[in-house]
């Protein structure tokens, strides 16, 4: 082996390690599905409150959150058959932890009376912001940090607004900062899959 070949081999090792580290799974689908399901629950809850049908229809949330977890568990089991790097492991654990924390706060927090019904929206927004901030760092996507900041600012606004008016704000945020980024994640992931640079 000569020096030129050694340089080429070091470059090859570097490229393969970098590509292997950057390998990621499509979190876009999960984020979009959760965003759509929660948006439906939010607007249905708000409609129920406005029309005087109920204060907060817990069943809408049970069905939507149940559907979200079913989807995440099924896709998670399917993904077990794929390659896993440390970035994927961290992102999976991060969003699963955020989901568990939000489910506990949303159901146990409100039914116990520890958290006011309206306050669930700003509390959950702060947690979602954490999810996006860490994802931004791991996946090296700067625009995702803006999404995290938007969630935290939205949370502050909702704490100031107080009351059930926070629900439509939370619903719009869910579409703008969860469904839309989810679609963007999906597109970015798809483009990466067909990019000649990665092939």
């Amino acid at each position: 082996m000569d020096q030129q070949r050694a340089i080429e081999e070091i470059a090859l090792i570097k490229r393969v390690i970098e590509e292997s580290r950057e390998f990621t799974f499509n979190i876009g689908k999960n984020i979009t599905v959760w965003g759509v399901l929660i948006s439906i629950a939010i607007f249905a809850s708000y409609a129920a409150i406005v029309t005087g049908l109920s204060r907060m229809d817990v069943w809408i949330w049970v069905v939507m959150i149940g559907a979200g977890w079913t989807y995440s568990i099924v896709t998670g089991i399917r993904r077990r058959s794929e390659t896993e790097n440390f970035g994927i492991r961290i992102i999976s654990t991060l969003w699963t932890s955020c989901g568990i924390a939000m489910t506990i706060l949303g159901f146990a927090g409100t039914t116990s009376g520890a958290i006011a019904d309206w306050a669930v929206a700003p509390v959950l927004s702060t947690i979602i912001g954490v999810g996006f901030a860490v994802t931004s760092m791991i996946q090296k996507l700067r625009w995702v940090m803006s999404v995290a900041i938007a969630w935290w600012l939205g949370s502050l606004v909702m704490f100031l607004v107080k009351g059930y008016e926070t629900l439509p704000i939370f619903g719009v945020m869910m579409i703008l900062f969860m469904v839309v980024p989810g679609i963007a994640f999906h597109r970015q992931w798809k483009n990466k899959q067909i990019s000649p640079e990665t092939k």
Binding site: I17, S20, R21, F23, R78, E82, T83
Partner: protein, 98 residues
Amino acid sequence: MTDFDYKQFDDTLQSRIRVAITAALVSVVEADFNFLKDMVKTTDGNLSTHLRKLEDAGYVSMKKKFVNRKPQTKYKITEKGRRALTEHINILEKLIKK
């Protein structure tokens, strides 16, 4: 040129494909066959042959399991493989700096 001992190179890592396989496995927890094929950019047969050689050398471990009733083979780098790759990189760097 003359003072460099070429015998320092690990026989198993003389092949670029085997070097690329170990490099791909070093930053993942475990990987499936298609991932490695994509990273190494080689044919199924060629990849299988090199994976077997790495397994024989104790650099890579293989685990077969069923996921959703489908057979799945996962590959993992061993501690011995990790050390061998590090040593290989050190030797390459020495050769470049020489």
